[in-house]
Each structure stands twice: as structure tokens, then as C-alpha cells.
Assembly symmetry: C2
Homo-oligomer: 348 residues x 2
DNA sequence: GTCCCGACTGTGAGCGTTCACAGAAGCGAT
DNA sequence: ATCGCTTCTGTGAACGCTCACAGTCGGGAC
């Protein structure tokens, strides 16, 4: 008597048959479950013959350790959470991809939380959701000021790192060096002989946008070139189109546009009004989206290595997880200028 | 003697303090853990006053149920896995977003697995990875033949649905009705008076591409228009550019291009050789990427509702999870033609 | 032969929940 | 009073694993 044999509660048996558990393997191999566990974690002190028997049993039963049970007992789920905003944008999507690949290489799973709107509470809520879900750490893809700001209010029960965020001392950050990228774009145009370089910036609440502005300004003043008034866009092609309308009223001969989409809108307007690119106006973009090479004309732009950012970011996160954590660190990845046909020497 | 008080193994206490567990709440509220559990699942039979005491204790200790423990005992993690290929492409990225939002609304978490290469074994491996990770179900974003093919070899220990896959009887599918979209694009051009419509297709191994071909053919034959030879691209702007080179050698006056990127490359070539769009050649794309409105000229294209696809897909998956599963089902979402300025009446 | 040590293997407990019961009040009806 | 309900609450076990520790076994040294 004693134990009543009732139907097992568990067993994802979509096909009826119950998944083998460690005890089944142990029974088949004629050892204790502890020995099975040892084989699984290839502990050195298991006799060769025992190990082989266990391995055979594992194979025969198609046994896989239950990650949930492992997570429960170890307190680590080997899952990382990523919160991001608009993943249909090229940058965030690539960043997400980079993180996922790096996490995969580090044998971690990735859970995602996309925000529908970006502000302090949505970010906090997303992080909480991931934590509640049991992730070991969170990476916040936070290119906007609101997201960076939110970082300070995020519960710190698990390690957090930010990607693409601006300088901020609250969490470690991995990012592309926007300042350097903007500077090299600007320098490229100055070296072509343009007296100065105009700039169509991204929205003020994006730190990347501000850093590109800063890089542009720094390079201009380094070259003692006059600093023209700043034009603002919102990353969209439409806003680039509108910026172009203002630009053509000026004597600009070169413009550095803060992303490729806006550059596209700008090129479109220039074309409409018959101002040839690059003959009368040189244009540099930022991002190097796959289409950039097929713009009219093919766009000179700045390429960002998102895979590398993902790797750096993961390194920072895992370091924190293993408690050998620098409280704050900033990993910068150098961007690369890709010269195509939208830039030319200044008209004389 | 008896229990040795050793340091707790667990407790993600990054800040030192241990997370409260159910027993702590029970103790504080002066009830058993079972009662706490009942309150959490708002079971009807808990006295009002008891419930309030428990709720207060939960609040005071900032208690959150441990999802891992819940998953272990219930056998459900409330996590869904998504495997997808190139998430920097607009379509897959939007699909992923749609699924994530729908999953969120259904109170499920989403784990992702991106493939670096697409073939049977990578898909199978990705699904296995997700399953090993403990997801309750998997959605495969499988617009390519290889992915669809792989679906048959995927372990069926958890429910699987495919998104954007072609017709296939092995798993339920949610998708945009590519055939209808292609037909409406073609019809639009025919209605403008073009004698026939050429087509630049996507790669043969993409089922979406094939369905668009089929929709285009069907519409042409419905209108008794001649069927011109098919041009093939690979989705990239470059391949559209190359297709354009072949196209300008013909007497084509209208072309339906299988995605917006290729349409962009095509427009670029037409511009280079001085063939005006749409005066001498009308162009329709597919996808309606955000930039499409800023092409030169703004592109007439077919918009897909990815959010709806995500919702449908989730419905199929959850239905299977709750065992009220239709073994096979196909949920089609109707696309929408967006007319812009790349199409015009046929030249006479 | 006894002791000790290394190599290997097993046992008990516990991770934080939920499930299936069993049990304790409270209360109207007999 | 006693019974039989309903209403509410508690107990034991289980989920599948890992950790800490306690064996068992064989053989070389004394």
C-alpha cells in the first residue's frame, strides 16, 4: 500500500510517452541518480565503465536534463533578458541579433521584451517582467535618454547592462563610439575640401544623436571650421526630406546626416529639386543599412559593428554574474567609414 | 545537531538580502503556505480577512512567486520560443515583434533563437535548444522552403506552429496571404492599362516568393494577359538593380517586384540609365517598409499586417497547448495595396 | 592481518511551488 | 446534544534536479 499509483501530473507527453528523468536513467544504468548527475557534469571521479553505461542509458532513453529543475536548484536559469524599443529599426534589430549570437556562444538563452512606448515606467516594467520570468541578467538596449534615465530606477535584483546607451555611471555600457564615428564622417568631408559641414541630427532625446552632434562639433572646431546651425530630424526619411528643404536655402556644400534613412529622404528631396548629389552637395549617412549601397547615389556612411557590441555587452554581463564585476565600465566599439558615391570634392 | 544553519545556496541577493518566498509570507500572515498559494491564484474559498492579511504580507515583503518553481511543478513555463532567420530584414523583424506583442498580451514570455544559416539541421537544432530550455511551444518563422522542410523533422515534444510558411500539412500556419497580395498588385497595374505585367521574383527557395509568383500568374491569366518570362532576384537591392538591366532590354511598361528592397535597386538602375519612373515603367513593390514612401519616386507597394499575423499565430499555438488543437489549420491575413507614385497609366 | 588512503558511489535534504487530500470550525436542522 | 453540511485551512508529497556528506571497496604499507 502506501503510494497510490496515480497518473503523473507532469510529462509534456504530447504523444503520450513521458519524458525520461534522471531516475529512469539511473535505474537503467544500475547506478544512483547522483552518479548520473556526475556523468552529466563530467565530474572526474566516475569509473570509465560506469560512465559508459550511464551514457548508453541516456542515449537509449533520449534523456535531457530538465532545465527548469536545474534552474530551481542552482538559482541560475542561464537565460538573459533583453529589453528593446523599436526592433524594426535597423540598429536595434542588429543589436538584438548581436546579443543573441553572443549569448548563444556563451550558452545562454535570450528572452525578449519589446516596448510599445518608451519611458521610465515601460522600461522598469519590462525589466521587472523579465526578472519575474527568472532571467539571470538583463541588457537594456537603451539608445534614448528616457531609457538611460529609466536605468536608474530599474530594480537591481539582477545584473543589468546597457547597450548603445550614452555615458552614465549607473550601469556598465557597451556601445559603438558614436563620437568617433561622427568625427570621422565630418573629417572625411572636410578633407574633400568643404569649407564646413552641416549636420542633420537625430532627436534630442536619443543619446546617440547627441553624441554624433558632439563628434561633429568637435571635429569642426578641431579644423577651425565654422559651425553651421544644427538641423533636427526624427530618424525618419520624411524628416530628412524636410531637413533638405531648409538645407537648400543655405550655402551648404556638405552635410553629415545622423542616419541612413534621413539621408535617403534628403537625397530624395535634392533629386526632386534638381540639385545633384554629390556635385552640388555631398552627403554622409550613418549606420550603413543594407540598402545604403543602392541609394541614388550610393551612400557614403558609417558602419557599426553590432556583433562586436553584442559580444562586449555579454562579457560585461557575465562578469557581473560571476561577481567579478566592475561596478561600472564602458566598452566602446570603433565604427568604420564606408566611402561610396554621395561625397565628392567641394565645388570651387 | 539536527539542521545545521548553513548559508543559503540560493537567493539572487546581489544586494545581500534574500528574496522572500512563500513560506515567509505565510509566517508573517500567520497562515500556511497553501493559503498563500490560494490567495495568489485567487481561489474563491479564502476568508476575506485572511486574504487581506496575506495580501498585506505579500506587499510588505515585496514577494513575487518564483516562476521557475511554478514551472517545475506545473510543467508549464509560460514561455514560447521563436526561431527565425534573418531578423534584420524588415519582414522577419516585424513578424517577431508581432509575435512578441501577442505573447505579452497572452501573458507569455518569449525566448528567441536566431539562425546563422538556414537549413534543416539548424532549424531542428534551434527548436531543440528552445525545448531544452523549457519553452511550452515553438513558433518557427519559416518563410523559406528549407525551413518548411525542416518542420517535418522537428521534434514534436511541444506544439509547433509556423509563421509565414507556405502551405504544408505538418503544422498549423499563420501567414499573410501572399497570393492575394501579388494578385492585387498585378491587378492594379493591369487596371492602369498596361498590356501585361513583368515580375521580379524572390529566390525560389522562399515560399513567399513562389506564392507571389503564383498570384501574379493567376491574375495575368484571369485577365488573359500574356505571361512574360520571370526574372529572379534574391531580395537584395543589388539583385533588383541587376534585374532592371535585363528588364530595360524588353518592352515592359509595368513590373511587380517581390519586395521593396529589390524595387529600390530597380529604381536606382532606371534612374541611372535615364528611364523615368513611372512615365516609361510602372513599379510595384511588396512589404511597405518604412522607407518605401521616400524612394524616388515614392513606391506603390503591398502592406502586410504583421501584428495580426502574430496574434493569429499565438492563437493557434495556445489552442494546441490547451489540447483543443486542430491538427492543422491555416490562418491567412489579407494584405493591403498602398498606391503611391511609382505607378501610372500605360504609355500610349 | 590491520590500518589507512584514494577512488568511486550512494543517501538525505532541500530548492519554491502546486496538487490531492484531510481536518477544523461554524451553523442550522434534528 | 448530535448530526451533517458548508466553508475555510493545513499537511504531506511530488516536481526533477544538485549539494554536502557519508559510505563502500580494494590494495599498498606496516
Amino acid at each position: 500500500m502506501g503510494r497510490v499509483s496515480r497518473a503523473p501530473r507532469t510529462g509534456r507527453g504530447l504523444l503520450g510517452q513521458r519524458r525520461a528523468v534522471m531516475a529512469d536513467v539511473a535505474r537503467l544504468a544500475g547506478v544512483s541518480y547522483q552518479t548520473v548527475s556526475r556523468v552529466l557534469h563530467d565530474s572526474p571521479d566516475v569509473k570509465r565503465s560506469t560512465r559508459d553505461r550511464v551514457l548508453a542509458a541516456i542515449q537509449q532513453l533520449d534523456y535531457r536534463p530538465n532545465p527548469v529543475a536545474q534552474a530551481l536548484v542552482t538559482g541560475r536559469s542561464r537565460t538573459l533578458g533583453v529589453v528593446s524599443f523599436d526592433t524594426t529599426l535597423y540598429g536595434p534589430a542588429s543589436t538584438l541579433l548581436g546579443i543573441e549570437q553572443a549569448a548563444h556562444d556563451a550558452e545562454h538563452a535570450v528572452a525578449i521584451a519589446s516596448l510599445r512606448a518608451l519611458n521610465r515606467s515601460t522600461v522598469v516594467e519590462a525589466v521587472e517582467r523579465l526578472v519575474r520570468q527568472g532571467v539571470d541578467g538583463v541588457v537594456v538596449v537603451a539608445p534614448q535618454r528616457a531609457a538611460v534615465d529609466a536605468l536608474r530606477h530599474v530594480p537591481r535584483v539582477v545584473p543589468v547592462v546597457a547597450v548603445e546607451a550614452g555615458p552614465d555611471d549607473s550601469v556598465p555600457v557597451a556601445a559603438v563610439d558614436q563620437h568617433a564615428g561622427a568625427a570621422s564622417a565630418t573629417r572625411h568631408l572636410l578633407e574633400l575640401g568643404h569649407r564646413t559641414v552641416w549636420h542633420v541630427a537625430g532627436p534630442e532625446d536619443w543619446l546617440e544623436a547627441e553624441q554624433r552632434v558632439a563628434g561633429w562639433r568637435a571635429e569642426l572646431s578641431r579644423a577651425r571650421a565654422p559651425v553651421p546651425p544644427l538641423l533636427r530630424g526624427d530618424w525618419s526619411a520624411r524628416s530628412g526630406y524636410e531637413a533638405a528643404q531648409r538645407l537648400v536655402e543655405t550655402d551648404a556644400t556638405a552635410v553629415f546626416v545622423a542616419n541612413d534613412q534621413m539621408a535617403l529622404g534628403l537625397l530624395r528631396y535634392l533629386h526632386e529639386v534638381g540639385r545633384e548629389t554629390p556635385r552640388t552637395l555631398s552627403v554622409v549617412g550613418f549606420d550603413d543599412i543594407p540598402e545604403a549601397a543602392y541609394f541614388t547615389p550610393p551612400l557614403t556612411t558609417v558602419r557599426q559593428d553590432f556583433a562586436e557590441v553584442g559580444r562586449r555587452c555579454l562579457r560585461l554581463l557575465l562578469a557581473q554574474l560571476e561577481r567579478r564585476s566592475p561596478a561600472y565600465e564602458r566598452a566602446l566599439v570603433a565604427p568604420e567609414l564606408v566611402v561610396r558615391r554621395s561625397t565628392a570634392a567641394a565645388p570651387r
